[in-house]
Symmetry: C2
Subunit: 280 residues, 2 copies
């Protein structure tokens, strides 16, 4: 596959609550990336306040699925993320897996540490970085950290913070349909339409390959909000209070098997026979 | 105002839970339409299973707001909707107000009865028809009756039924952001992109004048989904199961003061100085 970007790696960005037994399509996919190259999946529990439980659960799940080598990295303090042993653990990973928890906990603990720099270098060289829930939201340059669900938006009710910077020009929201989060993703897009809003349902993931395109896997939908054709937004017109208005936002709803081109910012319409084969 | 349509009346379509005291902007607006012409507001409680309570509540609210004449019409059986007294009650209305409840109860009781025909004629002649929640959802030709909230959609998970037919080419959903209903409105639009999807938040309403345009009033947002530029939908490609995919849906988010042209299907972008005046 031709790749013009500087990242040879892949991202798997999961909307949270991925199935862990039965039809575990997403984690099966993660296994595929783990059992290659360095042949090791490292679970990183820094985002969660229950790292022990979460490490035990995911270790069992991945071993049961057939991942050959599973290791766990927890980081309690920034010092931990400077430790040589921590860096060595990450060095051997073909897949780095960020659990859920709190995205600010994740970025404030490992941001700009040797452990994170090692992850970023691995990703550039071809490793796969996986994040679910908070671990997914933290991946872009700018991350959504707060804002009520199931509400339309005051233009300034949104919490954003600098994320891990592993993907650019997008903002990620998770648990999307389940928590009624379109309002807050619209607010994020209105702040700067350069940013593509990607809302991912539970048990659903996007797989980003080389910064250029993503495909969708899982049982829910992925919503892409594109603000480049907005003709009016109350935010840009200096309205400082009240519910946000936005005219002409482009919305794509994608599901298992859908593809999206991140360079042109267009969904790839399937060939008619492809769609028919898919439904057969 | 020039009007090409055959309806001289107005519709006020409320997303449910409109404020009833304090900042009751929507019901104040209803009052304005009630205190003119025939000078009477008739509350129609047919949709609800607690008509007595609801009639008492709205009667008090409208009297406190200063509506000069308030009357109540309840219909328990289709026979009730054939009674001369019922028709006479509606005949004297400048505003007919449908409460919430169950939209199928509403249409199955009064559909094609003299009481409904009288409402429709009044509306054509200039009366105002108001509906909130189920009373709002029931107003179009085709109405949404069921479908889970806070979920992405299986293309066929949607319940639709013939509505009152007072507005054409739209489908209305209520309690919109609060119940995370964008998935089901997208599913409705995908079934036939001729239909414009209008999702209305609680304490928010659209005021439709003469079939041609609407304006927004209230504390929440109104979401308009326009499918006319859809390049791909899994439904049209004969995919018979799985989560719906749709590419290139146009989404408008509107708030208090926004206007929408139903003929061209475009939001009206405010003049820059208008927006600034609004925020001042």
């Amino acid at each position: 596959m031709a790749r013009s970007g500087k990242n040879k790696g892949n991202l798997i960005i999961i909307g949270g609550h991925e199935n862990k037994d039965g039809q575990a399509d997403i984690l099966e996919k993660v296994k595929g990336y783990a059992n290659r190259g360095k042949n090791c999946l490292v679970i990183v529990t820094v985002a969660t306040q229950t790292p022990g439980e979460m490490a035990a659960e995911y270790t069992k799940v991945f071993k049961d699925l057939g991942v050959r080598n599973v290791d766990v990295l927890d980081v309690h303090t920034r010092d931990d993320a400077y430790a040589d042993e921590a860096v060595e653990k990450i060095m051997k990973a073909s897949v780095v897996f960020f659990t859920g928890g709190d995205q600010l906990r994740l970025t404030s603990q490992i941001g700009d540490t040797p452990v994170f720099r090692c992850m970023r270098d691995l990703y550039r060289d071809g490793a796969t970085i996986v994040g679910t829930s908070a671990g997914a939201a933290a991946l872009p340059e700018t991350m959504l950290i707060s804002g009520p669900s199931d509400e339309s938006y005051d233009a300034f009710a949104l919490g954003m913070a600098p994320g891990l910077g592993l993907i650019h020009d997008v903002v990620i929201d998770t648990h999307f349909a389940e928590r009624g989060r379109i309002g807050r993703l619209l607010a994020a897009v209105s702040q700067n339409p350069r940013i593509l809003g990607i809302g991912i349902d539970e048990d659903t993931a996007v797989i980003v390959e080389g910064d250029e395109a993503f495909s969708v896997i899982g049982s829910g939908a992925v919503y892409v909000l594109d603000g480049r054709k907005i003709t009016y937004s109350s935010l840009s017109e200096e309205e400082t209070e009240g519910i946000l208005s936005m005219h002409n936002v482009l919305l794509h709803v994608l599901s298992d098997g859908s593809k999206f081109d991140l360079i042109t910012r267009n969904p790839v319409d399937p060939e008619p026979n492809e769609a028919r084969a898919k439904s057969a």
